[in-house]
Symmetry: C2
Subunit: 309 residues, 2 copies
């Protein structure tokens, strides 16, 4: 693939970021974030999750966010959905895409969804049937979580990841992504697993989701990009951190991923100054929550400012 192909940075801060912190950001603030992210050039935003409000009160306003997100020109609005009930809510909301998590780790799957990975595959088939019965065009994307290792189970077998990728596509998912949910991946592993996955599922592999827990987030993004991935999840300010490693980073920071690609001359369509300004506002709204990421502290290199000017 060409190195000149643009890269999409999918914002997951409103879902993965906010679900990881205890406080609930008021809906008005979320809408401000959503609109500012869109104005900064973000064209794919995961605005929330259709899970029971008693489990994640932080995301109880997801339908409201989808309604506004749908009015923003050119925006792909996605939501996370853990089961058929959530998928029905997502279809009702009119979201463009739903992200269905499936843990490649058997132990993580049982702990997180109380289902085995193959039970989740069966759910995906039911969700696909529901979508088709409605004549909806909502995209079904499976996020293969713990694909690079698991805090409960430890090692995750690559053959099992490949088997499950194939299984979810056979069950009716439109596309798949690989997620290093807990920050265990290294760049060589990323190269290997993405190459193997592309060989098995081809261009239906469309996303890399990396955490910076152990400092390798951007190296892993780069390694995945080298294999041909052109779409990455990221979270503004790296908010949310890592529940398994207090004090450590969680998702790679949107502005750092934007900087990585900008510095490589790869277009993302993102307005860097607008992203940093939004990060500053989000930091104020979440006063006291630790933010992560490097570029907001260091500022752009002189070489890049000159090129942007």
């Amino acid at each position: 693939m060409s190195t000149h192909q643009p890269v999409t940075v999918r914002e997951v801060g409103l879902r993965d970021g906010l679900q990881s912190i205890a406080r609930t950001l008021p809906t008005a603030r979320k809408l401000e974030w959503l609109r500012a992210a869109h104005a900064a050039g973000q064209r794919e935003i995961e605005v929330g999750s259709f899970v029971p409000a008693r489990l994640l009160p932080q995301l109880a306003d997801t339908a409201e966010l989808v309604a506004v997100a749908r009015t923003l020109p050119g925006l792909v609005t996605s939501v996370l959905v853990p089961n058929l009930k959530g998928a029905v809510a997502a279809l009702d909301s009119g979201a463009d895409a739903m992200l269905l998590p499936l843990s490649a780790s058997h132990a993580h799957s049982l702990a997180n969804l109380r289902k085995t990975p193959d039970e989740v595959v069966a759910d995906i088939a039911r969700i696909r049937a529901e979508r088709d019965a409605r004549g909806s065009r909502c995209l079904l994307e499976v996020g293969m979580s713990t694909a690079f290792g698991c805090t409960i189970q430890g090692h995750v077998d690559e053959a099992e990841v490949l088997r499950l990728l194939k299984a979810v596509l056979d069950a009716g998912a439109d596309r798949v992504g690989l997620a290093d949910t807990v920050g265990y991946a290294d760049p060589l592993q990323v190269s290997r697993l993405f190459e193997q996955s592309f060989a098995v599922v081809g261009d239906r592999l469309t996303c890399g989701h990396f955490h910076d827990t152990r400092g390798l987030g951007l190296a892993n993004v780069y390694a995945a990009w080298q294999t041909g991935v052109r779409r990455f999840d990221a979270c503004l300010g790296g908010i949310g951190g890592c529940p398994h490693a207090p004090g450590a980073s969680g998702n790679v920071a949107t502005e750092d991923v934007a900087f990585l690609f900008a510095s490589m001359g790869v277009r993302t369509g993102l307005d860097f100054d607008a992203l940093i300004a939004l990060r500053t506002r989000v930091a104020q709204w979440l006063d006291g929550e630790p933010l992560h990421g490097s570029i907001a502290r260091a500022g752009l290199p002189k070489t890049m400012r000159r090129e942007l000017a």
Copy 2:
């Protein structure tokens, strides 16, 4: 090159780290650090710099450190040397190697050494002559600083870097390394410049020196490793930060580089727990100085602990 070839992490904390902070670490502490770093498996350590004590009082005890370092089995002891006078002191001290900085940025060279890059090349020829006249086997390594950009000049021409690499080898340097002194490099640029440099100077290119100022430090280490580099500078705890970007990281952290390679299955000979324990002690000695790096906060992944056990 084989991915199974081991990697050497050259510790520069006692020089690059300590010269960047105002306080002076007592010699006894430095010696404790030196011995513990050696015990943790570090086999190349830059123990200081032969510059006038009025300029860098923090490093005034360099000769004393070299004397002790020489007694540690298997350790390559190096010192930074800015000119012929420093080189004479280095040769007198019995250091195994001297690191001669040369700025590829004309403006940085003038600001830092008050000499043009070509005047520094002429110095290197004089240093080589002095070494040979003494029958010394002290290695002369040139660190090509600001090779990826400069805070003063901005853009640095790749052709100029290649010209200077060749010039310093012609002038008598034994080997060369490329340094991203100010954290401007991106992985594609690193790939390109290292590949071009290997094509021009071959296996006399032996080191990559990266800063993590903007979060790309480990991605750049990985990109350089992909081109065949098997030796990297790093600084325990990333101490020293970046003088050009307050609050930002400086040198890549030794323990993070060790983790990157360990997670990739590449041997470094480093004892991870010993490095982290030493980092904790250095943090106490430098109480109040910000340390950097990710793995010390997050801890090793379960997968790695299991493999190490």
